[in-house]
Amino acid sequence: MSTAAARFLDAAGSITRNLRHRGLIQTALRKYESARDRRKAAFHDWESARQAAAETKWEAINHLDEHLVSFADKLESRGTKVHWCGNGIEARDLIRDIIRDAGAKCVVKSKAMTAEEIHLNEALEKDGFEVVESDLGEFIVQLRKEPPYHIVFPAMHLTRDEISDLFEKELGSAPTREPEELTMIARRALRRKYVTADVGITGANFAIAETGMVSITENEGNARLTAALPRTMITLLGIEKVLPRMEDLALFLPMLATAGAGQAITGYNTLYSGPRQPGESDGPTEWHVVLLDNRRTELLADPEQRDALHCIRCGACLNVCPIFKNVGGHTYGTTYSGPVGSVITPHLRGLQDWKHLSGSSSLCGACTEACPVRIDLHHHLLQNRRNAASEKPSTLERLTWRLHAFLMNSPSLYHLAKECGRVFEPLRKATEGTVLDPVRSWTTTRTLPPVAPVSFKEWWRERR
């Protein structure tokens, strides 16, 4: 078992017993579901919209090479510096050098899961830079020195009381239970940072190939301030963020808002096309767009699962996933949690180390049903399981399944197994839940039905 798998089992074991956590998350996500359903109903036909979105992303990803070149060319023509980074180390080094060249000390940053993926903040802080998260949820988890709990709702696991206590301890504010006041406390702390920061780092929601623009969607206005106030702007994005055309946003912006947060449209939607142009009075003087591969092209090379690159990081699959709803975001130990995380993490970070996430699913398919771009998520979990087993089969498990096949295919042995089940039932019952019970992983929390005195097949034979 990999270290990551052992950690996952351990964390899942303790958090599933935490009924407070379960209640908190499930109450929040029930509210999300009803809001999302109301917004879905506002679409003329949600299923057709999903199909259209899936086809657009298919086009984007299957012609990624052309779209990326077009995107980069258009950006460069307006003075943006475009950088191509093969992995996280390259991207981190590059971003650090840009910040150093800008003579900066303080960096303000808006929400970017890609930055989490390459552990950008830790690297910059190690090099002596101050990095301030400007998204409220991210600001909160940064103060707690923990990773975001959810790709869209980073601090959804915290109550207002916990946030008030945190602000009191870290920012010296007076305790309050009012969300508005808590927001104002964060706002006062953040506004000072926007003005003093020399560099702003953002993520991106979509990269428009046709026009060479970056689309950023947010609810707090923090990304706009992050992009507009500092002299230097850096945008870090995965290469899969491409959309072919500007008009695609007409579908993708409401779709992302609906699937992601149950909103008709997100509060602020901004398109960035370049740094400050001659004659303009504001905006950053320098803009660096950092395109990150980090094994995405390897996923692209897998025809069976490349649709996982269609993901728009809306978090809809997390929100409906019964596994996520019970173990929460931190248990996964990954940047991307929930179903999409379980699908892509083995590709991004190694199949054998992360295959347990594909195993940890009842394959219920709620994720696939919720995905706005129709990624075949739960079937990809099955493919990951198959790939993991064929790449490195477990001798014991393979033997088990061979015996199982032998038993199931032999009516006399199968009959004998049922007889054994009946004979040993009293013994099994007596040892239930103890170390002697071979099925204790089931019986610790559940009863097991006994083999019936007359099985269906015995009844059938008798009857004939």
Partner: protein, 238 residues
């Protein structure tokens, strides 16, 4: 019609009444029912664990014994999904691919078969109880079965159906998942049980015995008065 009934191992061994009710119902409707004894499993456990070669050893046997019939009716939505959705994938590009696709085309989950193949919704059943319905995930999302069991229940005399909030949420069984990740599976099951109990129903009904085995296992430990029952047993009640 010549109907082959596929009774999966856990229904055969632990829930024979479910299979017996299905035989009775199909025969009452005038169909000739056969149950090949040589086939006990669809191969899903090995398939879901990633061991596709071993799954094919089981599936080969199923392909051998489930031919020469008009329809294969499956006593579990999950095994039904294995035949209908996953066999074509399991045999993709292999010699028995055509056979797998042919079988997939003939496979029906029990409630789906009654309503959408035979056009029957009223079986003259009577079951005086308040019940809530649990959608097994494979039946619901792989096979798209949602209305059929409800239509059948709506014609059962003296039965009241109350929907639970989490009807379409997984009960946490998931085959080997329940044994490999028992803590997560149990937590999911507890959510399901609480949602079902919240309706005030006496029974949780489903078209999948595997989910019911999990839910009943948890309810027993909780000492709950709520019971589980398969749809076929209700439809066979007078």
């Amino acid at each position: 019609m010549k109907v082959t009934l596929f009774i999966p191992c856990f229904v055969d061994a632990c829930f024979p009444d479910v299979g017996i009710s299905m035989v009775r119902i199909l025969e009452r409707l005038g169909h000739s029912v056969q149950c090949p004894e040589a086939v006990a499993c669809c191969g899903q456990p090995a398939f879901n664990s990633g061991y596709w070669d071993e799954a094919r050893q089981v599936a080969d046997n199923a392909l051998d014994h489930l031919r020469g019939t008009d329809a294969v009716v499956v006593a579990s939505g999950s095994c039904g999904a294995m035949f209908k959705v996953f066999y074509p994938q399991l045999y993709d590009g292999r010699p028995r691919s055509a056979e797998a696709v042919e079988l997939a085309g003939k496979v029906w989950e029990f409630s789906d078969f009654l309503v959408n193949r035979l056009g029957v919704t009223d079986l003259g059943a009577r079951f005086p109880a308040k019940v809530t319905f649990h959608d097994g995930c494979h039946g619901l999302r792989e096979l798209g079965i949602h209305a059929a069991p409800r239509q059948l229940l709506s014609h059962v005399r003296d039965l009241e159906l109350v929907e639970m909030d989490e009807a379409a949420t997984c009960c946490g069984f998931g085959g080997t998942f329940a044994a490999k990740f028992p803590m997560i599976s149990t937590a999911m099951g507890e959510v399901k049980c609480a949602s079902a109990a919240g309706t005030g129903a006496e029974y949780v009904v489903s078209n999948d015995s595997s989910c019911l085995m999990h839910v009943q296992g948890l309810l027993d430990r909780q000492g709950s008065a709520l019971k589980t029952i398969h749809l076929a047993r209700i439809l066979d009640s007078r």
